[in-house]
């Protein structure tokens, strides 16, 4: 039996003994890891040089060709000397002959493997012979050599740059002691260095097997990783790091997949009668193995999806909640400040995390961006200037790695309601209106159920009257369509008569059995209505007279700011006023800063953005004023699936408890009797 001893730079806990036969001869391969200790490696080579037929050394510095120079690290020489007359293989020759051959045959199968990809090299200088190949396929190469060999946070982008820099640094690199330098923990440094950020955005990483032990692997998560050889431990490490695809550019030795590059070369070497190996014979040996490069698709761990959301202060008062702005709130210049802030570009505000789907466990992280303009300013200014600022936020969000952006509150009302922004944005945009509408309807039906004053007929429809104020708006329209299926009589109110009439005609087509009346002013019909949904952009102007409302009615005030003032609401204890539209996200949601909402509630439009991220549907879901009824139904189903629920329903003064609803019902019954 022939003995091959592989002295590896890696950890000794991965040592193994393997027995296999190759071309009719029995071989024993013994791996001895030295935990980055060069002295120990030298000792082992010296001690065992008479006991084996060939040595394989793995992970030690190879002969490097930088430009025209050939660089031999002192450790390389020491290892050869220690081995004496026993032949030593380090895998360089095999890698040189097989790496590109393997990669090329992979590209035949999958031509788009490298094209237009950003390719990151942990240590490009080890792949110096192959760089021209990569440069043929993509121009986007990133080399982190300086960082991983010397700790300098500088990235290089071409092989020319690399050879030039490394050529100059060679004398310094020769003096770096191999053992200690590479074992340094770079993790903390990476986090601190914004200069390295580009490296984390690569699509494909090329890493040398030995580096896996000494580099933190988190940038590999979900990415494609190309390694020159793949054994059991390498695979385990890469899978643990969450690599999406592992490509081994190495002819796998079918019988013993754990055998690496150096060991296989040593095997060929031991097999040669004269113990000398050249490229020619090596090529023949590789061909005789009928080996193939392998692609391993790993089950990617669900990566945290990211979404962004734009918010803005809803009132002048909220604008002054910002620390440092407080002192200005009482000054007569408050209006001026409001105006001024209306022109300020948006900025990153805070993070939201802990959102986790109940359906597939997908974790979602959100980033909130603020446009410090009040509704008044947003509606007054030229839409173009607001588009521009929101577009800037989209770019910012994209650069921070988010996949979708949601427009909150009035930012989605401006101009054409998101269409222009979506056209310009690098990431999908949603207004979140679909879920807002769905949430409103959830809240309304919950309120009605609890009040229990409207009876349902034999056909399942409520025997009463429902009204939608702002019926031609995007949320209003969907509410109308939904209510028309559920109520016997529906009244549509909107300020522009032509729109109302158009909508009435449309609805009659959908629901011929429902009595549908259009109006420009609600007060004529309010005394008959059991459910009123107001969804206007009236900005606090009075849209209806609450004194005329039927006792026991349910009002959903969807508009922000509210259509009904707190004073109005308190005059009618017999009417249930719901400030609906807020939902609860699944998981332990943490928001960096307050959103002026109670408990765990969030805006429904934010929830929609999070929901799309959870479902992985990064698309322009709801855009423009036209809200698609089918999309509302779809988002309603998605929300139920992922565990987004109506948070405890909210009134103008906070949460409405079931007792409060019961009390409201009692009042209503009393008033109706008198």
């Amino acid at each position: 039996m022939k003995e091959i001893i592989k002295v590896a730079y890696g950890p000794s806990s991965e040592n193994y003994d393997a027995k296999f036969s190759f071309k009719g001869e029995d071989y024993r391969l013994k791996r001895l890891g030295v935990d980055a200790n060069v002295d120990l490696a030298l000792h082992l080579l010296k001690n065992f040089r008479h006991e084996c037929d060939a040595f394989a050394v793995a992970g030690f510095p190879p002969i490097l060709k930088i430009g025209r120079e050939t660089i031999i690290h002192p450790v390389y020489k020491q290892l050869r000397e220690a081995a004496g007359t026993t032949p030593v293989a380090d895998g360089t020759l095999l890698r040189k002959t097989s790496f590109l051959w393997a990669l090329k045959s992979l590209l035949k199968r999958e031509p788009l493997l490298l094209s237009q990809k950003k390719i990151g090299f942990f240590c490009g200088i080890f792949q110096a012979d192959f760089l021209h190949f990569f440069e043929e396929h993509t121009s986007d190469l990133v080399f982190a050599d300086l960082y991983f060999s010397l700790g300098i946070p500088k990235l290089m982008h071409s092989s020319r740059q690399l050879t030039k820099a490394m050529g100059r640094l060679t004398p310094a690199l020769m003096k770096v002691s191999v053992g200690k330098k590479f074992t340094k923990d770079y993790d903390a440094l990476i986090f601190r260095t914004p200069l390295m950020r580009e490296f984390h955005r690569c699509d494909v990483y090329i890493i040398h097997k030995t580096q896996l032990d000494y580099v933190k692997l988190w940038p590999l998560e979900g990415k494609t990783v190309i390694v020159d050889s793949l054994d059991r431990f390498t695979k385990e490490k890469l899978v643990a790091a969450g690599a999406g695809r592992i490509i081994s550019c190495f002819p796998e030795f079918p019988a013993h997949p754990e055998i690496g590059c150096a060991a296989l070369e040593a095997l060929f070497l031991a097999h040669q009668p004269d113990k000398v190996l050249d490229e020619e014979t090596l090529l023949q040996e590789v061909r005789s193995l009928e080996a193939h490069p392998t692609i391993i698709e790993t089950e990617t761990k669900s990566k945290t999806a990211q979404f962004a959301f734009v918010i803005h202060p809803l009132t002048q008062k909220q604008l002054f909640l910002v620390p440092g702005m407080k002192n200005f709130s009482n000054l007569p210049i408050a209006r001026g400040i409001e105006k001024m802030m209306g022109k300020v570009p948006g900025f990153y505000y805070c993070k939201m995390n802990g959102i986790k789907s109940e359906f597939n466990g997908q974790e979602v992280e959100g980033e909130l961006y603020v446009l410090p303009a009040t509704p008044k300013q947003l509606l007054r200014q030229d839409p173009e200037s607001i588009y521009r600022r929101i577009h800037q936020l989209c770019l910012l969000a994209h650069s921070r790695g988010t996949n979708i952006i949601g427009l909150g509150a009035y930012t989605k009302i401006v101009g054409d309601a998101g269409v222009t922004i979506a056209n310009r944005s690098p990431i999908p945009v949603t207004t979140g209106n679909s879920l807002s509408a769905a949430a409103t309807l959830w809240a309304a039906s919950y309120g009605l159920e609890r009040m229990d004053l409207v009876k349902k007929g034999a056909d399942g429809r409520y025997q009463g009257t429902a009204m939608v104020i702002g019926a031609t708006g995007s949320i209003g329209k969907v509410c109308v369509r939904h209510l028309c299926h559920q109520w016997e009589k529906v009244i549509l109110v909107a300020p522009r008569p032509y729109k109302v009439l158009d909508l009435v005609d449309e609805m009659k087509g959908h629901c011929p059995n429902t009595e549908i009346i259009g109006s420009t002013h609600p007060d004529k019909y309010t005394p008959d209505c059991d459910l009123i949904i107001t969804s206007t952009s009236a900005q606090g102007e009075k849209v209806m007279d609450i004194a005329k409302v039927k006792p026991g009615a349910v009002i959903c005030d969807v508009s922000r700011p509210f259509d009904l003032g707190l004073d109005d609401v308190s005059t009618r204890p017999d009417v249930l006023v719901i400030a609906s539209g807020e939902v609860e996200l699944p998981g332990q949601v943490k928001i960096g800063k307050t959103l002026n909402l109670e408990g765990g509630a969030v805006y429904a439009c934010l929830a929609e953005t999070a929901l799309l991220a959870m479902e992985g549907r990064f698309e322009n879901f709801s855009l423009s004023r036209e809200l698609d009824y089918d999309k509302v139904i779809e988002i309603d189903q998605l929300a139920r699936k992922h565990g987004i629920r109506l948070s405890a329903i909210m009134g103008h003064t906070g949460e409405i408890t079931d007792q409060e609803i019961a009390l409201c019902r009692e009042h209503a019954l009393k008033v109706r009797l008198t």
Partner: protein
């Protein structure tokens, strides 16, 4: 049972060989050619003991097979006890004997004809860097340990765990700190607790100094434990355990006393045993005291063990061998003190 044993000439090995032979087992001792003569002398009274020239640092372990084929092919259990034990051992030696030696033994055992059992003696020190409860299956091959001995034993244990064993059942034993015989006190060398014994032995003579010392200071961490175990108890336990069939493919045991001996109690009792009239007082937890230790004859390598509050679980031992109980430290301490006397002269 036919048993192959490595490390028979060592401190534990000698007692284990006697204990196994007393139970009537047929034992093949894998002995280095250089120690063969000594081994033959040591075990000359024992029947059923065979000597096999072998060296675990060699690729093929057994040097001369002639005359031992039978025992090699009919082995029921391999006990791999050999290893270098010394906290201050250089890495090269520790690596050759502990890591490569174990690797070769694994290879050797895998080549034996359907070997039923492979027993590997590891050490509790593979988890000595841990704090708190340490389970018997706990191992982290990537940990960096304070001394080469523990580090190489850790690597060796993970090699045993990862090897492809086929039909062979594997048992890993992790004994605590081995001290002298609990009946005779016999001990080979000054090591571990014996450094303290040597210090106390000296202090007994420095009456004028001890009279002026307000107390004896303990460095290290509150709650640090010393899992002491007398060598004869270990040999008895191993004999019992090796004889009993196993229901598990791979099972590991902490061979420690049921009594969780704290460093404080160890020092207090030992001071009393050496009749040094000093109180024991804990010093604030700082490593500044570590350089002082060598000055009083305690090697630097001992220090990390004073900071480990690891408490080694005996769950598997109690589950599989409920009768294994060690004598109390205070009971056998006088014998240890008596046995140690010879070492200090």
């Amino acid at each position: 049972m036919n048993i192959l044993l490595t490390g028979a000439t060592g401190f534990i090995g000698r007692r284990l060989t006697h204990a196994l032979a007393a139970k009537g087992h047929k034992i093949g001792l894998l002995i280095r050619p250089s120690s063969l003569a000594r081994a033959k002398k040591t075990f000359r009274d024992l029947p059923n003991v065979h000597f096999i020239e072998a060296d675990i640092s060699r690729n093929d372990v057994v040097v001369r097979v002639a005359g031992t084929e039978a025992i090699l092919q009919e082995t029921d259990a391999v006990i791999h006890l050999a290893g270098t034990y010394d906290l201050a051992i250089p890495l090269e030696e520790a690596y050759t004997n502990n890591v490569i030696g174990t690797q070769n033994m694994v290879w050797f055992a895998q080549r034996l004809n359907r070997l039923p059992y492979f027993h590997y003696i590891s050490t509790y020190a593979v988890n000595s860097h841990c704090q708190g409860h340490v389970g018997e299956d706990q191992i982290d091959a990537t940990s960096k340990l304070a001394d080469h001995y523990a580090q190489t034993k850790l690597q060796a244990e993970s090699i045993v765990r990862q090897a492809a064993w086929g039909p062979t059942k594997v048992r890993i034993y992790r004994p605590g700190v081995i001290v002298g015989d609990s009946l005779t006190g016999a001990m080979d060398k000054i090591d571990g607790p014996y450094f303290f014994f040597r210090l106390f032995n000296q202090m007994r003579k420095w009456k004028s100094l001890t009279r002026r010392m307000p107390f004896f200071p303990i460095v290290g961490r509150q709650g640090a434990q010393v899992p002491l175990l007398p060598v004869n108890i270990l040999a008895d336990w191993l004999t019992t355990m090796v004889e009993k069939p196993s229901a598990h493919e791979l099972r590991s045991y902490h061979l420690v006393s049921q009594e969780n001996l704290l460093v404080e109690n160890f020092l207090r009792e030992s001071l009393k045993a050496y009749s040094v009239p000093l109180m024991v007082r804990r010093m604030p937890e700082t490593r500044l005291f570590n350089p002082v230790l060598p000055l009083v004859g305690i090697p630097r390598e001992v220090a990390p063990y004073l900071y480990s509050t690891a408490s080694f679980s005996r769950e598997h031992v109690d589950e599989d061998f409920p009768n294994l109980k060690a004598p109390l430290f205070s009971d056998y301490l006088p014998k240890l003190v008596e046995g140690a006397r010879g070492l200090f002269e």
